[in-house]
């Protein structure tokens, strides 16, 4: 297997060809905040938290969606990147209706965690209080759009892992919204297998089990990676 050697914040690492910059960053023992990325799902580079600077070019690239290449010199923690990351997290908080105090995911929320990671103690941007909906039509699960950060993990896990493609994105800009089926109530979408993978991967409390209440959500964000690996490596006995 061919290997690429590169540096991450000055630390030399070797990663297999095909690895992403995020893999390289992790191999170097550093870490980057991520929201849209989830191991096992196709990266989309949408949340911009894992942006890194390629030394020399000054260009910013999303580590999750950029292939590591030989000789790259990656900077992950320049003061400028840190400031922009914090601004991005503030923008996430300000564009939705995130009230950690009574959220089902309080204590198990990646948005809450990245706020801590980037040192966000308040949002400098005024909260927008968008007018959004809650869809509790599914017998087991519900989606509270107020808490959605449009990471599209649910869209991708349902499409790529479960193969049902229940979820998609409608509208554009600040009006973007995750929709079930053809913008139907979730409970009426026959394609939904009720597998719960979207609940597992949702980084916030947007998609949750109805029997969970404040701070009770347990996400299983490792599952897409496990399932993908099991498939790729034929780990199941019946294969």
């Amino acid at each position: 297997m061919s290997v690429h050697t590169l540096t991450v914040d000055g630390v030399e690492v070797a990663v297999p060809a095909g690895a992403s910059l995020l893999d390289a960053v992790r191999a170097a023992g550093a870490d980057l905040p991520t929201l849209c990325h989830l191991d096992g799902l196709t990266p989309v580079g949408a949340c911009r938290l894992c942006l890194v600077e390629l030394e020399g070019s000054g260009r910013l690239q999303p580590a999750c969606a950029t292939a590591a290449a030989e000789g790259m010199a990656v900077l992950t923690q320049t003061p400028q990147l840190q400031e922009w990351r914090r601004m991005a997290v503030e923008l996430f908080f300000a564009e939705g209706n995130h009230v950690c105090a009574f959220c089902v995911a309080n204590g198990n929320c990646e948005l809450q965690d990245v706020a801590v990671a980037v040192g966000m103690d308040h949002s400098r941007f005024p909260y927008q209080y968008p007018n959004r909906r809650v869809d509790a039509s599914h017998p087991q699960f519900a989606i509270d759009h107020h808490r959605c950060i449009l990471c599209t993990r649910c869209v991708r896990v349902c499409d790529e892992i479960e193969g049902a493609h229940v979820w998609d994105v409608a509208n554009r800009g600040a009006e973007c919204s995750i929709i079930a089926g053809l913008d139907q109530p979730w409970g009426e979408v026959a394609a939904c297998t009720s597998c719960g993978k979207c609940v597992d991967v949702c980084p916030t409390g947007a998609i949750f089990r109805k029997d969970d209440t404040t701070a009770e959500k347990e996400a299983h964000r490792e599952r897409p990676q496990l399932l993908r690996a099991a498939r790729d490596q034929h780990q199941w006995l019946n294969q």
Partner: protein, 199 residues
Amino acid sequence: MTSSTSSSPAGSPPRLRFATVWLAGCSGCHMSFLDLDEWLFELAKHVDVVFSPVASDVKEFPEGVDVCLVEGAVANADNLELALQLRERSRLVVSFGDCAVTANVPGLRNLWAHVDGGSRQSVLDRGYLELADTGAQHPHAPGIVPELLERVLPLHEVIPVDLYLPGCPPPAERIRDAIEPLLRGETPAMEGTAMLKFG
């Protein structure tokens, strides 16, 4: 704990004039503050509590406050007036808890800003007319019942804030770890889950 007027013993650092304020919030942050239990005696050695809903009966926010913890969002005319006053009269203002930092639960009525009549009318109608068992009417007592602002604001959108202490409520240890350095004239490091987490 009551406000003290005693001067500091010779040789020890000057006692800080300490205030806590309760705007639009549930008082949970103050309850968490009281959860500091015996550490409050420690605190009392260093500060004079010159204004506080839980530790003093002073009605007028005093001049020359060193540290002021502000719980709650700015939701009505009284909150606004007090916020402006405390800023003018305090050296260091701390946004104390999620309501002060983000508007949090009191701010939820801002979700009704788009509907006819706006958020103020919607919340009053809901609270005093739709949910009334008997005698449905809007409260109206000019000069006694403060008028609601149309939009509930976090404290820093009204006045400059020096330190943010998030949490709903902030755990007692977080409050202590934020205040302790202030007593020594230092700035606390607000980092990591122990010090920063919302909710």
